[in-house]
Amino acid sequence: MKRWSAGLSVALAAFALFALAPVPGAAQTATGTYTPPRTAEGQPDLQGIWQVLNTAAWDIQDHSASLGVPAGRGVVEGNAIPYTPAALAKKQENFKNRQTLDTENRCLLPGVPRITYMPYPFRIVQQADKVTILHEYSRVMRYIYMNGNPHPEGPIDWFLGDSRGRWEGNSLVVDVIHFNDETWFDRAGNFHSDALHLVERFTPTGPDHLLYEVTVEDPKVFTRPWKMSMPLYRRQEKDIELLEYECGAYLLKQEWAKPDSPYFNTP
């Protein structure tokens, strides 16, 4: 009896260790056991400079390599995106014409969640009533209001949508609506309409990792909600800081020098 009990204890302990130990890179749920430090206001402290290490900026689904595009595992849970038949056809058309149709190529604001997994670092800044995300890419600022205000009444068509956040345990949960239909999810033509509704969760899974999960809902484009998830990594370089990628300035300078740039002949 005693021995059995000791054996059970060891087994339970081993199970507990296995179950509770953080597994880097594994899909974790928002109920991890890591307890982050707190800000002066008592919020979980998610501040610092973060970046993805994946290829979602090129294609959020599993994809092969091509010139300038690294192969990659997708970030979509189950890999398939539940497009309606018409939307799937449009996605394929988008892919074919991505050079001209992708607004990233015109340096317009890339939208949410795309801005989060572009290959540039971003800084999370917390205050009592808002979380601000400063992106190196085009110095994009994203405000997530935590002041208790609901989404303003629409219709509003914004590139980054309207973000309202709350804390659920250690997770920052952000509800985002009021999008326009001009941005894509990636360079592969995955798209949404202005009816896009996102729920993002930023969950600390260790001192240097956040799990970033996004539930995507858009009844005009998808037959059901679907989900992306990926880790965000804290940049470790000693003197890491956000530098600058002034997309619009570089683009205009380049196009200005071309005698017949189509940039100045397209709406």
């Binding site: 205000n149 600058e244 619009g248 100045f264």
Partner: protein
């Protein structure tokens, strides 16, 4: 009426009104105000330097990590913003009469070397804004009308200042700066940026920001006053009253100017007095102007875009024949 719609209509109206001036949609600039010819001259450096000499000593409250607390929403200067930084009379509806921002040299002029002054005058004569002294030819348009922004103009708009240990975070209408104050070194001198490479330190009550690595591809105002890729700037921000930050910037570049020179103006806390030109946060200020005080969203900053809504304007400026402004290369 919804706020964004009002803001959009106002912007459209302004854009139509401004059309002959060839588009000054201006990313970093404060919202445009319009002035009558009989507008009294706005006080700038001369008046402010005299005023601040009379202020009693002030010690700012400290942040939890023990440095002066500069946090909050702060206005840009009164008047026509950075339309023309030197002293001038009424020029047009967006350029009211005002004193120079230059506090040193005392004559309020940018101390250009002769070739640089000629260059500045050439740029100014080719603005095609209908200003006196123009040639009628189009040369360069203000880079900020193409959504190209940089220092030091950014510091002449309103901003929200947030402090974290070792960091100053400055949020403006649609861009930001993060200034490390942890003693780290500047980056290598070949790395050039529109905003330069800022390093801050505290000297008593004053935040001193040393800026190197500027690419020199933007202007100091919208009238063609320029700097270059060798220019070094030092900002000093001091809370001299509870609701006033004394903003001082010294600009030095022996390849362009005969001596270092300095601009200064007071940044007033938003909502506490003079500081007409744009509040910290254009959307919030616009909202306060048109929405009931009880609007729960009045303090929020809503999406600000520049290039996204500026394509037609950019196309127009290109078709009008304006050249791209590259950093000015001093003659050998």
């Amino acid at each position: 009426m919804r706020r964004w719609l009002i803001a959009t209509l106002a912007a459209l109206a302004a854009a139509l009104f401004m059309w002959p001036l060839a588009g000054r949609a201006a990313g970093g600039d404060p919202p445009q105000a319009f002035y009558r010819p009989d507008t009294p001259k706005f006080p700038q450096a001369r008046t402010w330097v005299a005023q601040k000499a009379k202020l009693p000593p002030y010690r700012a409250p400290r942040t939890p990590d023990g440095v002066p607390d500069l946090q909050g929403n702060w206005n840009g200067p009164v008047g026509g913003g950075n339309d023309d930084l030197e002293e001038h009379d009424y020029i047009d509806v967006t350029t009211p009469p005002q004193e120079s921002y230059v506090s040193d040299p005392p004559d309020g002029k940018v101390p250009y070397t002769p070739w640089a002054l000629a260059k500045r005058n050439e740029i100014r004569a080719g603005l095609a804004r209908g200003w006196p002294g123009e040639t009628g030819q189009r040369l360069y348009t203000d880079p900020s009308s193409l959504c190209v922004n940089g220092m030091p103009r950014l510091a002449f708009g309103g901003q929200e200042i947030i402090q974290k240990p070792g960091l100053m975070i400055l949020l403006t209408a649609n861009t930001y700066r993060v200034i490390p104050t942890d003693g780290r070194a500047h980056m290598g001198s070949d790395a050039k940026f529109y905003f330069g490479n800022s390093r801050g330190r505290w000297e008593g009550e004053t935040l001193v920001v040393d800026i190197t690595g500027l690419n020199g591809e933007t202007w100091i105002d919208s009238a063609g006053n320029f700097y270059g890729p060798n220019t070094h700037m030092v900002e000093r921000m001091t809370r001299v009253e509870a609701n006033t930050i004394d903003y001082v910037i010294t600009i030095d570049d022996p390849t362009i100017y005969t001596r270092p020179w300095t601009m200064t103006y007071p940044k007033r806390r938003s909502g506490t007095g003079p500081g007409g030109n744009a509040g910290a946060i254009p959307n919030a200020v616009a909202a306060a102007a048109v929405a009931p005080a009880a609007d729960p969203y009045a303090k929020e900053v809503w999406e600000n875009t520049c290039l996204e809504g500026n394509h037609d304007n950019v196309v127009l400026l290109k078709k009008l024949g304006f050249k791209w402004f590259d950093a000015v290369v001093p003659p050998k």
